[in-house]
Symmetry: C2
Subunit: 136 residues, 2 copies
Amino acid sequence: MKIGELSRATGTNIETIRYYERIGLLPAPSRTAANYRSYGDAHRARLAFVRHSRDLGFTIEEIRSLLDLSDHPERDCADADRIATRHLEQVEEKIAQLALLREELSRIVGRCRGGIAADCRVIEALGDHAQCESAH
Amino acid sequence: MKIGELSRATGTNIETIRYYERIGLLPAPSRTAANYRSYGDAHRARLAFVRHSRDLGFTIEEIRSLLDLSDHPERDCADADRIATRHLEQVEEKIAQLALLREELSRIVGRCRGGIAADCRVIEALGDHAQCESAH
DNA sequence: TATGCACCCTGTATCAACTACAGGGTCAAG
DNA sequence: CTTGACCCTGTAGTTGATACAGGGTGCATA
């Protein structure tokens, strides 16, 4: 498989594949006579693992740990669960934070009745620090 | 006000204040004889506006537009409402996306019963692309 | 007077996770 | 024989800061 095919097979940008290789997330594949990268099915599976993990929001370093575990099936897998659990907590935290943010934005938005900026409640709300504090 | 005082007054890192000046978000203040930056209350208000906007997740470019409106009170403020409304939509989209993510992470997490990585459901779930697809 | 300390200055490098070229090589079809 | 699709390396840019290195300033204290 050439890099373009791997790219299509996994929905990953070609530049991103080369980037993953450069940072050591994917092993360097063998090369053809023309110095083209040549991938096999193991590469495809590993890249799919990485993409799926990235889609779930794991960082590259977390994925490194997860791949390391995946490469050493005899090891204790408690780490994997720990990484995933912590990540889930972070996601939940982020959701809570965005929900607060949505509250405040909702209060700000839609209060502009087409006037001039001098009377704009949106601009006013952004400048007014007290309004933010008292709202919480 | 010296930069350290402005920093404490607005809860903004000193380096960040200088960064905002460098990218033209804050006007360059006058200097003391010793070449120290010297801020007034207008600077403080403008920085508070920026910080509040950043806390709400507006990008620097959006803040530039909002500040521009704030600087020209005679202009139509429909833009401000448009920027805030679009941002609210983006926040809502992000929340929805993170909620989906939380679903999948919840399914993955906690299935590890302390065995070895070979049997780990977390690792398995990450590698298994089909499981992800079918789940949606 | 010296000296220590907190504060300030500029300029550049670093972070995450990519993405986007520039400038060149390879290969098959028309 | 040339056009086009594909591949290569290496470097620079993105966002929103943050972190020095290497130096200057200003005030209190020994």
